[in-house]
Protein backbone atom coordinates (compact mmCIF):
# COMPACT_ATOMS: atom_id res chain seq x y z
CA UNK A 1 0.00 0.00 0.00
CA UNK A 2 1.27 3.50 -0.73
CA UNK A 3 3.05 5.16 2.15
CA UNK A 4 1.19 8.46 1.61
CA UNK A 5 -2.14 6.70 2.04
CA UNK A 6 -4.11 9.14 4.17
CA UNK A 7 -5.91 6.41 6.04
CA UNK A 8 -2.74 5.23 7.64
CA UNK A 9 -2.07 8.48 9.41
CA UNK A 10 -2.51 7.92 13.12
CA UNK A 11 -5.95 9.09 14.14
CA UNK A 12 -5.88 12.15 16.39
CA UNK A 13 -7.15 11.45 19.86
CA UNK A 14 -10.77 12.32 20.12
CA UNK A 15 -13.35 11.29 22.61
CA UNK A 16 -15.75 9.03 20.75
CA UNK A 17 -18.81 10.73 22.08
CA UNK A 18 -17.64 14.27 21.33
CA UNK A 19 -19.81 16.08 18.82
CA UNK A 20 -18.02 17.43 15.78
CA UNK A 21 -17.68 21.21 15.92
CA UNK A 22 -18.82 21.66 12.30
CA UNK A 23 -22.07 19.81 12.93
CA UNK A 24 -24.62 22.52 13.74
CA UNK A 25 -26.47 22.15 16.95
CA UNK A 26 -29.78 20.50 16.34
CA UNK A 27 -32.74 21.09 18.54
CA UNK A 28 -32.73 17.91 20.58
CA UNK A 29 -35.28 15.21 20.96
CA UNK A 30 -38.31 15.22 18.76
CA UNK A 31 -40.26 12.13 19.58
CA UNK A 32 -43.41 13.41 17.92
CA UNK A 33 -43.33 13.82 14.14
CA UNK A 34 -43.29 17.45 13.12
CA UNK A 35 -46.21 18.57 11.02
CA UNK A 36 -44.99 18.16 7.44
CA UNK A 37 -46.76 21.37 6.46
CA UNK A 38 -43.70 23.60 6.69
CA UNK A 39 -40.71 21.69 5.31
CA UNK A 40 -37.69 23.67 6.27
CA UNK A 41 -34.56 22.01 4.89
CA UNK A 42 -31.49 23.37 6.56
CA UNK A 43 -28.89 25.01 4.38
CA UNK A 44 -26.64 21.98 4.54
CA UNK A 45 -29.21 19.23 4.36
CA UNK A 46 -28.27 16.59 1.80
CA UNK A 47 -31.24 14.34 2.51
CA UNK A 48 -34.54 15.78 3.66
CA UNK A 49 -37.06 13.17 4.71
CA UNK A 50 -40.65 14.12 5.48
CA UNK A 51 -43.49 11.98 6.73
CA UNK A 52 -41.85 8.71 5.70
CA UNK A 53 -44.36 5.89 6.15
CA UNK A 54 -43.93 2.27 5.22
CA UNK A 55 -45.86 -0.83 6.18
CA UNK A 56 -45.57 -4.53 5.53
CA UNK A 57 -48.54 -6.88 5.65
CA UNK A 58 -50.74 -4.40 7.46
CA UNK A 59 -48.13 -3.49 10.09
CA UNK A 60 -46.76 0.04 10.03
CA UNK A 61 -42.98 -0.27 10.34
CA UNK A 62 -42.27 3.40 9.79
CA UNK A 63 -44.90 5.89 10.83
CA UNK A 64 -44.18 9.39 9.62
CA UNK A 65 -40.44 9.84 10.05
CA UNK A 66 -39.05 13.37 9.64
CA UNK A 67 -35.34 13.94 9.56
CA UNK A 68 -32.52 15.56 7.70
CA UNK A 69 -29.04 14.31 6.98
CA UNK A 70 -26.50 17.08 6.77
CA UNK A 71 -23.74 17.25 4.24
CA UNK A 72 -20.51 15.79 5.59
CA UNK A 73 -21.85 14.29 8.80
CA UNK A 74 -22.06 10.72 10.01
CA UNK A 75 -25.64 10.09 10.98
CA UNK A 76 -26.35 7.02 13.07
CA UNK A 77 -29.76 5.42 13.28
CA UNK A 78 -29.84 3.30 16.37
CA UNK A 79 -32.56 0.83 17.06
CA UNK A 80 -33.35 -2.64 18.15
CA UNK A 81 -33.52 -5.51 15.70
CA UNK A 82 -36.64 -5.37 13.62
CA UNK A 83 -37.34 -1.72 14.38
CA UNK A 84 -37.31 -0.71 10.71
CA UNK A 85 -33.76 0.61 10.44
CA UNK A 86 -32.94 -1.29 7.26
CA UNK A 87 -36.24 -0.22 5.75
CA UNK A 88 -35.38 3.40 6.47
CA UNK A 89 -31.94 3.06 4.91
CA UNK A 90 -33.30 1.45 1.77
CA UNK A 91 -35.51 4.49 1.17
CA UNK A 92 -32.49 6.75 0.91
CA UNK A 93 -31.30 5.27 -2.39
CA UNK A 94 -34.73 4.23 -3.59
CA UNK A 95 -34.28 0.45 -3.22
CA UNK A 96 -37.69 0.46 -1.56
CA UNK A 97 -40.53 2.90 -2.14
CA UNK A 98 -42.36 4.46 0.80
CA UNK A 99 -46.13 4.19 1.21
CA UNK A 100 -46.27 7.90 1.97
CA UNK A 101 -43.90 10.79 2.53
CA UNK A 102 -40.95 12.09 0.59
CA UNK A 103 -37.20 11.70 0.40
CA UNK A 104 -35.40 14.66 -1.14
CA UNK A 105 -31.76 14.16 -2.08
CA UNK A 106 -29.80 17.27 -3.00
CA UNK A 107 -32.92 19.08 -4.19
CA UNK A 108 -34.53 16.16 -6.05
CA UNK A 109 -37.53 14.29 -4.71
CA UNK A 110 -36.62 10.67 -5.37
CA UNK A 111 -39.79 9.03 -4.10
CA UNK A 112 -41.67 9.14 -7.39
CA UNK A 113 -38.74 8.26 -9.62
CA UNK A 114 -38.61 5.20 -11.85
CA UNK A 115 -35.80 2.69 -11.29
CA UNK A 116 -33.90 3.99 -14.30
CA UNK A 117 -34.14 7.60 -13.14
CA UNK A 118 -32.61 6.62 -9.80
CA UNK A 119 -29.36 5.53 -11.44
CA UNK A 120 -27.69 8.97 -11.40
CA UNK A 121 -28.42 9.18 -7.66
CA UNK A 122 -27.11 5.69 -7.01
CA UNK A 123 -23.77 6.49 -8.60
CA UNK A 124 -23.36 9.14 -5.91
CA UNK A 125 -24.86 7.14 -3.05
CA UNK A 126 -23.15 3.81 -2.34
CA UNK A 127 -24.49 1.20 0.01
CA UNK A 128 -22.75 -1.42 2.11
CA UNK A 129 -25.02 -4.41 2.68
CA UNK A 130 -25.29 -6.39 5.86
CA UNK A 131 -23.68 -9.57 4.53
CA UNK A 132 -21.46 -7.66 2.12
CA UNK A 133 -23.48 -8.91 -0.87
CA UNK A 134 -20.34 -9.56 -2.90
CA UNK A 135 -21.06 -11.31 -6.20
CA UNK A 136 -19.99 -14.82 -5.32
CA UNK A 137 -19.36 -15.80 -8.92
CA UNK A 138 -16.54 -13.22 -9.20
CA UNK A 139 -13.19 -12.69 -7.51
CA UNK A 140 -12.78 -9.81 -5.08
CA UNK A 141 -10.90 -7.94 -7.80
CA UNK A 142 -13.77 -8.29 -10.27
CA UNK A 143 -16.23 -7.33 -7.57
CA UNK A 144 -14.46 -4.04 -6.89
CA UNK A 145 -13.91 -3.51 -10.62
CA UNK A 146 -17.58 -4.18 -11.40
CA UNK A 147 -18.95 -0.64 -10.88
CA UNK A 148 -15.90 0.81 -12.63
CA UNK A 149 -16.41 -1.40 -15.68
CA UNK A 150 -20.09 -0.52 -15.73
CA UNK A 151 -19.86 3.22 -15.29
CA UNK A 152 -16.44 4.44 -16.39
CA UNK A 153 -14.41 4.19 -19.55
CA UNK A 154 -11.17 3.45 -17.74
CA UNK A 155 -8.69 1.03 -19.30
CA UNK A 156 -8.06 -2.30 -17.59
CA UNK A 157 -4.73 -0.98 -16.27
CA UNK A 158 -6.41 2.07 -14.75
CA UNK A 159 -9.11 -0.12 -13.28
CA UNK A 160 -6.48 -2.42 -11.75
CA UNK A 161 -4.74 0.57 -10.16
CA UNK A 162 -8.01 1.89 -8.79
CA UNK A 163 -9.05 -1.49 -7.43
CA UNK A 164 -5.73 -1.89 -5.64
CA UNK A 165 -6.07 1.64 -4.22
CA UNK A 166 -9.53 0.87 -2.82
CA UNK A 167 -8.45 -2.50 -1.45
CA UNK A 168 -5.52 -0.71 0.18
CA UNK A 169 -7.93 1.75 1.79
CA UNK A 170 -9.78 -1.09 3.49
CA UNK A 171 -6.48 -2.85 4.32
CA UNK A 172 -7.18 -5.82 2.11
CA UNK A 173 -4.54 -5.46 -0.60
CA UNK A 174 -3.75 -9.16 -0.87
CA UNK A 175 -7.34 -10.37 -1.25
CA UNK A 176 -7.83 -9.37 -4.91
CA UNK A 177 -7.52 -12.84 -6.50
CA UNK A 178 -9.62 -14.59 -3.85
CA UNK A 179 -13.22 -15.66 -4.20
CA UNK A 180 -15.69 -14.17 -1.68
CA UNK A 181 -16.36 -17.63 -0.25
CA UNK A 182 -12.69 -17.83 0.80
CA UNK A 183 -12.96 -14.69 2.96
CA UNK A 184 -13.95 -14.34 6.59
CA UNK A 185 -16.99 -12.27 7.53
CA UNK A 186 -14.93 -9.21 8.40
CA UNK A 187 -12.86 -9.44 5.24
CA UNK A 188 -16.00 -9.81 3.18
CA UNK A 189 -17.36 -6.57 4.62
CA UNK A 190 -14.09 -4.80 3.92
CA UNK A 191 -14.08 -6.05 0.35
CA UNK A 192 -17.68 -4.93 -0.05
CA UNK A 193 -16.70 -1.55 1.39
CA UNK A 194 -13.94 -1.29 -1.22
CA UNK A 195 -16.52 -1.99 -3.89
CA UNK A 196 -18.82 0.70 -2.46
CA UNK A 197 -15.94 3.15 -2.56
CA UNK A 198 -14.98 2.32 -6.14
CA UNK A 199 -16.93 5.15 -7.77
CA UNK A 200 -15.84 7.72 -5.13
CA UNK A 201 -19.37 8.22 -3.80
CA UNK A 202 -20.56 11.31 -1.94
CA UNK A 203 -22.72 9.31 0.42
CA UNK A 204 -22.15 5.93 2.03
CA UNK A 205 -25.02 3.99 3.52
CA UNK A 206 -24.02 1.27 5.97
CA UNK A 207 -26.51 -1.51 6.77
CA UNK A 208 -25.50 -3.05 10.11
CA UNK A 209 -21.77 -2.96 9.37
CA UNK A 210 -20.75 -4.94 12.45
CA UNK A 211 -23.52 -7.51 12.74
CA UNK A 212 -22.13 -11.01 12.97
CA UNK A 213 -18.56 -9.91 13.67
CA UNK A 214 -16.50 -10.45 16.78
CA UNK A 215 -15.80 -7.40 18.99
CA UNK A 216 -12.26 -6.86 17.70
CA UNK A 217 -13.25 -7.04 14.05
CA UNK A 218 -16.22 -4.80 14.84
CA UNK A 219 -13.92 -2.22 16.38
CA UNK A 220 -11.68 -2.37 13.32
CA UNK A 221 -14.66 -1.81 11.02
CA UNK A 222 -15.75 1.12 13.19
CA UNK A 223 -12.29 2.63 12.94
CA UNK A 224 -12.35 2.19 9.19
CA UNK A 225 -15.72 3.93 8.88
CA UNK A 226 -14.36 6.82 10.90
CA UNK A 227 -11.19 7.09 8.89
CA UNK A 228 -13.07 7.00 5.61
CA UNK A 229 -15.25 9.81 6.87
CA UNK A 230 -12.30 11.89 7.95
CA UNK A 231 -10.28 11.51 4.78
CA UNK A 232 -12.70 11.04 1.91
CA UNK A 233 -15.17 13.87 2.48
CA UNK A 234 -18.28 11.70 2.45
CA UNK A 235 -21.63 11.89 4.16
CA UNK A 236 -22.37 8.67 5.98
CA UNK A 237 -25.51 7.05 7.30
CA UNK A 238 -24.96 4.11 9.61
CA UNK A 239 -27.76 1.95 10.93
CA UNK A 240 -26.84 -0.34 13.75
CA UNK A 241 -27.81 -1.80 17.07
CA UNK A 242 -24.15 -1.79 18.09
CA UNK A 243 -23.82 0.98 20.67
CA UNK A 244 -20.01 0.98 20.64
CA UNK A 245 -20.00 1.50 16.91
CA UNK A 246 -22.64 4.21 17.13
CA UNK A 247 -20.63 6.11 19.74
CA UNK A 248 -17.43 5.65 17.80
CA UNK A 249 -18.58 6.92 14.41
CA UNK A 250 -21.70 9.00 14.95
CA UNK A 251 -21.88 12.79 14.83
CA UNK A 252 -25.60 12.76 15.40
CA UNK A 253 -27.88 9.98 16.34
CA UNK A 254 -31.49 9.04 15.96
CA UNK A 255 -33.14 6.37 18.02
CA UNK A 256 -35.81 4.49 16.10
CA UNK A 257 -38.52 2.70 18.01
CA UNK A 258 -42.00 1.66 16.95
CA UNK A 259 -41.87 3.61 13.72
CA UNK A 260 -40.85 6.91 15.32
CA UNK A 261 -37.63 8.58 16.24
CA UNK A 262 -37.82 8.70 20.02
CA UNK A 263 -34.72 10.83 19.94
CA UNK A 264 -32.81 12.82 17.35
CA UNK A 265 -29.80 14.94 18.19
CA UNK A 266 -26.15 14.87 19.17
CA UNK A 267 -24.53 12.74 21.84
CA UNK A 268 -24.52 15.37 24.54
CA UNK A 269 -28.28 15.73 24.19
CA UNK A 270 -28.67 11.97 24.13
CA UNK A 271 -26.89 11.67 27.47
CA UNK A 272 -29.11 14.37 28.94
CA UNK A 273 -32.29 12.84 27.54
CA UNK A 274 -34.71 11.58 30.12
CA UNK A 275 -36.30 9.05 27.77
CA UNK A 276 -36.21 5.75 29.66
CA UNK A 277 -35.97 3.52 26.59
CA UNK A 278 -33.08 5.52 25.13
CA UNK A 279 -31.45 5.44 28.53
CA UNK A 280 -31.74 1.68 28.58
CA UNK A 281 -30.27 1.44 25.09
CA UNK A 282 -27.35 3.72 25.94
CA UNK A 283 -26.55 1.91 29.14
CA UNK A 284 -27.02 -1.49 27.52
CA UNK A 285 -29.65 -2.60 30.03
CA UNK A 286 -31.58 -5.63 28.92
CA UNK A 287 -35.25 -5.50 28.15
CA UNK A 288 -37.18 -8.22 29.80
CA UNK A 289 -39.78 -8.79 27.10
CA UNK A 290 -37.58 -10.55 24.55
CA UNK A 291 -34.05 -11.43 23.66
CA UNK A 292 -32.58 -8.93 21.25
CA UNK A 293 -31.05 -11.60 19.02
CA UNK A 294 -34.24 -13.56 18.74
CA UNK A 295 -35.87 -10.84 16.68
CA UNK A 296 -33.06 -10.52 14.20
CA UNK A 297 -35.19 -11.01 11.10
CA UNK A 298 -35.93 -8.03 8.94
CA UNK A 299 -39.66 -7.29 8.78
Amino acid sequence: MPPDDPLHAPPPPQAPDQARPEAPAQEPAQARPEPPAQPRPGPQALFTVRGLTKGFAGRKVLDGLDFEILRGETFVILGRSGSGKSVTLRQLNGLDKPDAGSVVFDGTDITGLEERDLYPLRRRVAMLFQGGALFDSMTVFDNVAFPLREHTRLSEAEIAAKVQEKLGLVRLPEAAPKMPSDLSGGMRKRAALARSLALDPEVLLYDEPTTGLDPITSAAIGKLIRQIHRHLDVTQVVITHDLDLAQHVGDRLAYLSEGHFRFLGDWAAAKRSSDPELGDMLSGRAWDEEDDHAANARP
Binding site: N93, V125, F129, L134, F135, E150, H151
Partner: protein
Protein backbone atom coordinates in the same frame (compact mmCIF):
# COMPACT_ATOMS: atom_id res chain seq x y z
CA UNK B 1 -52.76 -20.29 -5.76
CA UNK B 2 -55.51 -17.74 -5.48
CA UNK B 3 -56.87 -16.08 -8.58
CA UNK B 4 -55.56 -12.70 -7.52
CA UNK B 5 -52.01 -14.00 -7.10
CA UNK B 6 -52.26 -15.62 -10.50
CA UNK B 7 -53.28 -12.37 -12.15
CA UNK B 8 -50.56 -10.44 -10.32
CA UNK B 9 -47.91 -12.94 -11.33
CA UNK B 10 -49.02 -13.00 -14.93
CA UNK B 11 -48.86 -9.23 -15.04
CA UNK B 12 -45.41 -9.13 -13.46
CA UNK B 13 -44.14 -11.78 -15.86
CA UNK B 14 -45.43 -9.73 -18.78
CA UNK B 15 -43.66 -6.64 -17.42
CA UNK B 16 -40.43 -8.58 -16.90
CA UNK B 17 -40.69 -9.91 -20.45
CA UNK B 18 -41.01 -6.41 -21.84
CA UNK B 19 -38.04 -5.18 -19.84
CA UNK B 20 -35.94 -8.21 -20.79
CA UNK B 21 -36.58 -7.88 -24.52
CA UNK B 22 -35.89 -4.14 -24.35
CA UNK B 23 -32.68 -4.81 -22.41
CA UNK B 24 -31.61 -7.38 -24.99
CA UNK B 25 -31.76 -4.79 -27.73
CA UNK B 26 -30.32 -1.90 -25.70
CA UNK B 27 -26.69 -0.85 -26.15
CA UNK B 28 -24.12 -1.83 -25.17
CA UNK B 29 -24.87 -5.38 -26.27
CA UNK B 30 -23.53 -7.75 -23.65
CA UNK B 31 -22.46 -10.32 -26.22
CA UNK B 32 -19.77 -11.80 -23.99
CA UNK B 33 -22.34 -12.60 -21.33
CA UNK B 34 -24.64 -14.02 -24.00
CA UNK B 35 -22.01 -16.42 -25.29
CA UNK B 36 -21.08 -17.49 -21.77
CA UNK B 37 -24.74 -18.28 -21.11
CA UNK B 38 -25.12 -20.12 -24.43
CA UNK B 39 -22.22 -22.32 -23.46
CA UNK B 40 -23.53 -22.92 -19.97
CA UNK B 41 -27.20 -23.35 -20.81
CA UNK B 42 -27.06 -24.78 -24.31
CA UNK B 43 -23.90 -26.70 -25.05
CA UNK B 44 -23.93 -28.47 -21.73
CA UNK B 45 -27.53 -29.58 -22.29
CA UNK B 46 -26.65 -31.31 -25.55
CA UNK B 47 -25.92 -34.69 -23.98
CA UNK B 48 -29.11 -35.00 -22.00
CA UNK B 49 -31.30 -33.70 -24.84
CA UNK B 50 -29.58 -35.98 -27.36
CA UNK B 51 -30.01 -39.12 -25.30
CA UNK B 52 -33.69 -38.36 -24.70
CA UNK B 53 -34.52 -37.84 -28.37
CA UNK B 54 -32.40 -40.66 -29.78
CA UNK B 55 -34.18 -43.19 -27.60
CA UNK B 56 -37.54 -41.62 -28.36
CA UNK B 57 -36.86 -42.16 -32.07
CA UNK B 58 -35.93 -45.77 -31.41
CA UNK B 59 -39.05 -46.40 -29.35
CA UNK B 60 -41.25 -44.76 -31.96
CA UNK B 61 -39.90 -47.08 -34.64
CA UNK B 62 -40.47 -50.14 -32.47
CA UNK B 63 -43.95 -49.15 -31.36
CA UNK B 64 -45.05 -48.32 -34.88
CA UNK B 65 -43.87 -51.66 -36.21
CA UNK B 66 -45.32 -53.78 -33.43
CA UNK B 67 -48.65 -52.07 -32.82
CA UNK B 68 -49.68 -52.19 -36.47
CA UNK B 69 -48.02 -55.38 -37.71
CA UNK B 70 -50.56 -56.50 -40.26
CA UNK B 71 -50.74 -53.37 -42.34
CA UNK B 72 -47.27 -53.52 -43.81
CA UNK B 73 -46.61 -50.42 -41.87
CA UNK B 74 -42.90 -51.21 -41.70
CA UNK B 75 -42.35 -49.20 -44.84
CA UNK B 76 -43.91 -46.10 -43.35
CA UNK B 77 -41.86 -46.11 -40.16
CA UNK B 78 -39.65 -43.32 -41.51
CA UNK B 79 -42.40 -40.78 -41.90
CA UNK B 80 -44.15 -41.76 -38.67
CA UNK B 81 -40.94 -41.31 -36.68
CA UNK B 82 -39.94 -38.10 -38.43
CA UNK B 83 -43.33 -36.41 -38.31
CA UNK B 84 -43.93 -37.23 -34.65
CA UNK B 85 -40.48 -36.09 -33.68
CA UNK B 86 -40.34 -32.90 -35.71
CA UNK B 87 -43.87 -31.73 -35.03
CA UNK B 88 -44.31 -32.78 -31.45
CA UNK B 89 -41.93 -34.92 -29.47
CA UNK B 90 -38.70 -33.18 -30.41
CA UNK B 91 -39.71 -29.68 -29.28
CA UNK B 92 -41.72 -30.79 -26.27
CA UNK B 93 -39.29 -33.36 -24.88
CA UNK B 94 -36.32 -31.09 -25.40
CA UNK B 95 -38.16 -28.23 -23.72
CA UNK B 96 -39.21 -30.40 -20.78
CA UNK B 97 -35.78 -31.90 -20.19
CA UNK B 98 -33.65 -28.87 -20.98
CA UNK B 99 -36.17 -26.61 -19.27
CA UNK B 100 -36.05 -28.65 -16.09
CA UNK B 101 -32.30 -28.51 -16.15
CA UNK B 102 -31.66 -24.86 -17.00
CA UNK B 103 -34.88 -23.32 -15.70
CA UNK B 104 -34.21 -24.65 -12.22
CA UNK B 105 -30.56 -23.60 -12.53
CA UNK B 106 -31.58 -20.04 -13.36
CA UNK B 107 -33.98 -19.85 -10.44
CA UNK B 108 -31.40 -21.24 -8.04
CA UNK B 109 -28.69 -18.85 -9.25
CA UNK B 110 -30.78 -15.68 -9.34
CA UNK B 111 -32.73 -16.72 -6.24
CA UNK B 112 -29.54 -17.11 -4.22
CA UNK B 113 -28.42 -13.70 -5.42
CA UNK B 114 -31.79 -12.27 -4.37
CA UNK B 115 -31.77 -13.65 -0.83
CA UNK B 116 -28.13 -12.65 -0.25
CA UNK B 117 -28.91 -9.09 -1.41
CA UNK B 118 -26.64 -9.36 -4.46
CA UNK B 119 -29.51 -8.23 -6.69
CA UNK B 120 -30.08 -5.22 -4.42
CA UNK B 121 -26.35 -4.56 -4.44
CA UNK B 122 -26.43 -4.52 -8.22
CA UNK B 123 -29.36 -2.10 -8.21
CA UNK B 124 -27.61 0.07 -5.63
CA UNK B 125 -24.66 0.33 -8.02
CA UNK B 126 -26.99 1.64 -10.74
CA UNK B 127 -26.78 -1.59 -12.74
CA UNK B 128 -29.96 -3.17 -14.06
CA UNK B 129 -30.21 -6.85 -13.02
CA UNK B 130 -32.57 -7.47 -15.93
CA UNK B 131 -29.94 -6.30 -18.38
CA UNK B 132 -27.10 -8.07 -16.61
CA UNK B 133 -28.76 -11.37 -15.70
CA UNK B 134 -32.13 -11.89 -17.35
CA UNK B 135 -31.48 -10.63 -20.87
CA UNK B 136 -28.36 -12.78 -21.50
CA UNK B 137 -30.18 -15.88 -20.29
CA UNK B 138 -33.23 -15.12 -22.42
CA UNK B 139 -31.06 -14.52 -25.49
CA UNK B 140 -29.06 -17.69 -24.88
CA UNK B 141 -32.12 -19.90 -24.46
CA UNK B 142 -33.84 -18.37 -27.51
CA UNK B 143 -30.83 -19.36 -29.61
CA UNK B 144 -29.96 -22.68 -27.99
CA UNK B 145 -33.30 -24.39 -27.42
CA UNK B 146 -34.35 -24.34 -31.10
CA UNK B 147 -30.84 -25.48 -32.01
CA UNK B 148 -31.03 -28.33 -29.53
CA UNK B 149 -34.46 -29.22 -30.85
CA UNK B 150 -33.20 -29.46 -34.43
CA UNK B 151 -30.19 -31.53 -33.34
CA UNK B 152 -32.43 -33.69 -31.17
CA UNK B 153 -34.85 -34.36 -34.05
CA UNK B 154 -31.92 -35.37 -36.25
CA UNK B 155 -30.65 -37.76 -33.59
CA UNK B 156 -34.13 -39.18 -33.05
CA UNK B 157 -34.54 -39.88 -36.76
CA UNK B 158 -31.13 -41.56 -36.65
CA UNK B 159 -32.24 -43.70 -33.71
CA UNK B 160 -35.35 -44.72 -35.63
CA UNK B 161 -33.16 -45.60 -38.58
CA UNK B 162 -30.99 -47.88 -36.46
CA UNK B 163 -33.97 -49.80 -35.13
CA UNK B 164 -35.60 -49.97 -38.57
CA UNK B 165 -32.49 -51.35 -40.22
CA UNK B 166 -31.08 -53.69 -37.60
CA UNK B 167 -34.21 -54.93 -35.89
CA UNK B 168 -37.04 -54.57 -38.36
CA UNK B 169 -34.97 -55.21 -41.48
CA UNK B 170 -36.17 -52.23 -43.43
CA UNK B 171 -33.68 -50.89 -45.91
CA UNK B 172 -32.15 -47.56 -44.95
CA UNK B 173 -33.02 -46.10 -48.33
CA UNK B 174 -36.68 -47.00 -47.87
CA UNK B 175 -36.73 -45.40 -44.41
CA UNK B 176 -35.04 -42.19 -45.54
CA UNK B 177 -36.92 -41.94 -48.83
CA UNK B 178 -40.18 -42.21 -46.93
CA UNK B 179 -39.12 -39.28 -44.73
CA UNK B 180 -38.09 -37.10 -47.64
CA UNK B 181 -41.37 -37.71 -49.41
CA UNK B 182 -43.59 -37.00 -46.44
CA UNK B 183 -41.91 -34.45 -44.18
CA UNK B 184 -43.04 -30.97 -45.21
CA UNK B 185 -41.73 -27.52 -44.51
CA UNK B 186 -44.87 -26.90 -42.46
CA UNK B 187 -43.82 -29.68 -40.07
CA UNK B 188 -40.42 -28.11 -39.54
CA UNK B 189 -41.77 -24.60 -39.16
CA UNK B 190 -44.33 -25.64 -36.57
CA UNK B 191 -41.78 -27.68 -34.60
CA UNK B 192 -39.10 -25.02 -34.52
CA UNK B 193 -41.68 -22.30 -33.97
CA UNK B 194 -42.90 -24.07 -30.86
CA UNK B 195 -39.43 -24.37 -29.46
CA UNK B 196 -38.94 -20.59 -29.67
CA UNK B 197 -42.05 -20.10 -27.54
CA UNK B 198 -40.90 -22.79 -25.08
CA UNK B 199 -37.50 -21.09 -24.86
CA UNK B 200 -39.15 -17.81 -23.91
CA UNK B 201 -41.31 -19.57 -21.29
CA UNK B 202 -38.31 -21.34 -19.73
CA UNK B 203 -36.14 -18.23 -19.46
CA UNK B 204 -38.83 -15.88 -18.20
CA UNK B 205 -40.29 -18.23 -15.60
CA UNK B 206 -36.84 -19.32 -14.42
CA UNK B 207 -35.68 -15.72 -13.99
CA UNK B 208 -38.97 -14.42 -12.59
CA UNK B 209 -39.05 -17.03 -9.83
CA UNK B 210 -35.41 -16.27 -9.04
CA UNK B 211 -36.01 -12.53 -8.74
CA UNK B 212 -39.03 -13.11 -6.49
CA UNK B 213 -37.39 -15.58 -4.12
CA UNK B 214 -37.98 -14.83 -0.44
CA UNK B 215 -36.38 -16.27 2.66
CA UNK B 216 -33.08 -18.10 2.89
CA UNK B 217 -31.89 -21.40 1.45
CA UNK B 218 -35.35 -22.73 2.15
CA UNK B 219 -36.86 -20.10 -0.13
CA UNK B 220 -34.42 -20.90 -2.92
CA UNK B 221 -35.42 -24.56 -2.72
CA UNK B 222 -39.10 -23.71 -2.86
CA UNK B 223 -38.63 -21.33 -5.79
CA UNK B 224 -36.63 -23.93 -7.72
CA UNK B 225 -39.27 -26.61 -7.26
CA UNK B 226 -41.93 -24.13 -8.25
CA UNK B 227 -40.04 -23.38 -11.47
CA UNK B 228 -39.82 -27.04 -12.49
CA UNK B 229 -43.50 -27.67 -11.86
CA UNK B 230 -44.69 -24.44 -13.47
CA UNK B 231 -42.51 -25.04 -16.52
CA UNK B 232 -43.74 -28.58 -17.08
CA UNK B 233 -47.37 -27.55 -16.84
CA UNK B 234 -47.00 -24.37 -18.88
CA UNK B 235 -45.12 -26.18 -21.65
CA UNK B 236 -47.74 -28.94 -21.88
CA UNK B 237 -50.68 -26.55 -21.93
CA UNK B 238 -49.16 -24.10 -24.35
CA UNK B 239 -48.15 -26.98 -26.60
CA UNK B 240 -51.78 -27.78 -27.29
CA UNK B 241 -52.62 -24.22 -28.21
CA UNK B 242 -49.47 -23.83 -30.27
CA UNK B 243 -50.30 -26.98 -32.20
CA UNK B 244 -53.76 -25.56 -32.90
CA UNK B 245 -52.26 -22.25 -33.95
CA UNK B 246 -49.69 -23.74 -36.29
CA UNK B 247 -52.30 -25.99 -37.92
CA UNK B 248 -54.37 -22.90 -38.60
CA UNK B 249 -51.52 -20.72 -39.78
CA UNK B 250 -49.06 -22.99 -41.56
CA UNK B 251 -51.08 -25.85 -42.98
Amino acid sequence: MRARDFVTRTGEIALLSGRAFAAMAARPLETRLWFAQMEQLGVRSLGVAGIATIFTGMVLALQTAYSLPSLGVKYYIGSVVAKSLVRELGPVLTALIVGGRIGSGMTAEIGTMTVTEQIDAMRSMAVDPVKKLVAPKLAAVLVMLPSLTVIGCGLGILGGLLVAVFQLHVQASVYLNNIVQNLTLADVVSGVGKSFVFAYIIAIIGCYNGLHTEGGADGVGRATTDTVVTLAITIMISDYFLTKLFILVVS
